[in-house]
Amino acid sequence: MGKRSVIPFGPQHPVLPEPIHLDLVIEDETVVEAIPSIGFVHRGLESLTDKKDFNELVYIIERTCGICSYMHGMGYCEAVERVMKVQIPDRSRFLRTVWAEMSRVHSHLLWLGLLADAFGFEALFYQSWRLRERVLDMFEESTGGRCIFSVNKIGGQLKDVPDDMLKAFSVKFTELEKEIRVMAKTFLEDYTVNKRLKGVGILTKEQALEMGALGPFARGSGVRYDLRETGYAAYPELDFEMCVEKDGDCYARTKVRIEEIFQAISLIRQAIDKMPGGEIAVPVKGNPMGEYAMRLEQPRGEGVYYIKGNGTKFLDRVRLRTPTFANIAPMVQTLKGCKLSDVPLYILSIDPCISCTER
């Protein structure tokens, strides 16, 4: 048995854009245990419930995370709408789906870039971020923001998107898809990339279920679990097939995410084709009374938005459970037994979003 030592990893680390701290107990070069400690990004935004009313909270909840900000706002709005029994117009439902899937495309492209950076393929990193900018351009065109959009409100949307702009998006996505396919080939077939990804960081299906892994991390291990099947927003009216792989290694997770990009682009195109006309918001009267837990599929997995209203304009409680929080336990599991130099890759393969986790 080699000598054991503890290596601190993070919070400021070149490969991590975000601060997470891990104490790695290593034996020679092999990690035997990883102890995560979080809290570097903790702001306590749930505590703002008693300072901001439920309408203003939309903008706070959106700023839980700048990557899937749209979905956070959407989850919160849907939860409040369900408590207040508000039926949002069809066009708003479809617009939400389009923006949510656009968020998924940009989030997955962002992750692919960071992954490429983690295994030292700088050109691939730049390539996927270059393609991601196209999605952000479309976001900017339709909402005005690149990261934080603030187009959601309780009862619908704040902004409408003209039909011809949507049509143009559809065409742009078709072009983008072609380019992503070329890039995806490098991720899936390149010899060096495969060497780094195949057969490493394995999470078996049993472990995934036992530890409660979520999202592409779980689907890469063969767990069929995707909340879009539960049918919120416009998903019941769209054709959708879950992407599942069974190997459970980094390669499987990459493959799931790449397929989800194409899936999302197809969903966007379908939603644009079926986009109904009409109003984008309904007026909302009164205050929320009652509680609801809304679950939806974020790029990283299942997000839960729990709200409890007491009949005044200030909510009693807002609680978010974000996917990375659930994924940290299985990630620590995969770290056991890996080589020290692989640690950044393993951490990145779950697509961690620390600012979501700590809020």
């Binding site: 601060p19 690149r146 934080i148």
Partner: protein, 148 residues
């Protein structure tokens, strides 16, 4: 001492940001915006960095991390606070765990507002930081000469 302001190295630390500004900083490093054309390069090592980009507000836990990074950087150094959060605490100012903007912990030279700060304004901030670094270099050289 040489003039380092022509090609300063930058270091980026994400305080308690929501990732929005954080991703914009990264985005401005990638081909579409490409701040490297101004001669800067991103590094992960505080000892080699001249410009410190901070995103997000300061909370009780990351205060010491930000301070440590700042202390490790060689002088002269410039701090750029990116995003409303890093400037003042922003939307999270009233949260119990937020102390405030970056200037509650370390001196800030350039403020880049915006939620999220756009890559264009981040680039502008970095270009201004280069100028600021130059001034600081000159001031230090002068001080060193007078000291002799």
């Amino acid at each position: 001492m040489k003039d380092v302001s022509k090609s300063p190295w930058i270091i980026h630390y994400d305080g308690s940001s929501c990732n929005g500004c954080d991703m914009e900083v990264l985005a401005s490093l990638t081909p579409v915006y490409d701040i490297e054309r101004f001669g800067v390069i991103n590094t992960g090592d505080p000892m080699q960095a001249d410009i410190f980009l901070v995103t997000g507000g300061i909370n009780t836990l990351n205060q010491m991390v930000v301070k440590q990074i700042y202390d490790q950087m060689p002088s002269p150094k410039v701090v750029v606070a990116i995003g409303t959060c890093a400037c003042t605490g922003g939307i999270f100012k009233e949260c119990y765990n937020i102390i405030g903007g970056t200037d509650t912990t370390i001196p800030v030279d350039i403020y880049v507002p915006g939620c999220a700060a756009r890559p264009q304004s981040i680039i502008d901030g970095i270009v201004q930081a280069k100028e600021c670094l130059k001034q600081k270099c000159i001031a230090e050289q002068k001080a060193a000469k007078e000291g002799k």
